[in-house]
Symmetry: C2
């Protein structure tokens, strides 16, 4: 017997496309990629260290973007029992799984720059 299709295939298959848009939305925001890349490169970092490493970001934005990433389980937040308090942020395995995609985007972006530059 014939296996039933799990997804209705309309012309654009927008149900499937939503997953791509989800990824875009999660990565969106002025600092998300830098935060992820910084944590991926440097390992666990405290709030202030992140702010120092990511040039130009304010504490409000850093805080909000980290909360977004934590909500999406990409970043783990750990409060250390010290005085004054310190908090460590680190990429979760799920967060690290973004490395391949970010790298693809980095490569495509570089190729794209050349295309645009050659456009005159």
């Amino acid at each position: 017997m014939k296996k039933k299709e799990t997804v209705a295939l309309d012309s654009t298959c927008s149900k499937e496309l939503m997953a791509a848009t989800d990824t875009l939305t999660i990565l969106n925001g002025k600092w998300k990629i830098q935060i992820i890349a910084t944590l991926n490169y440097s390992g666990p970092l405290r709030f202030m260290d992140l702010q120092r490493l990511i040039k130009g970001i304010g504490s409000k934005m850093l805080s909000r973007e980290l909360q977004d990433l934590e909500t999406n389980l990409l970043v783990k937040r750990t409060v250390l029992n010290t005085r004054p308090m310190t908090v460590e942020y680190e990429l979760s395995p799920h967060g690290k799984s973004l490395e391949r995609i970010i790298n693809s985007m980095r490569l495509w972006g570089k190729a794209h720059r050349k295309k645009i530059a050659a456009r005159n």
Copy 2:
């Protein structure tokens, strides 16, 4: 003599990361991915056909997003000599080169949904 580094390698190598952010920016906007995927699937389409296929988009947004994509050389716009006028849009080869990335994002997005759903 020593070749000079073209990019200063700070801890996060933000110059390289910019290319990834570029890609994000180009793909950003509520409808870009749908437009690209629709053109990729259906081939050349007229303005109205696109609007019919992409449920919910208004003419203003469709127009603006298409202009963005055209500026970035992802889409080719062709005005046909008919009455009343018709315009055809199609993906450029450069635009088609996004297919792999969009597909990666689609797969990651699906995996991410499961992760989030299992979070309880």
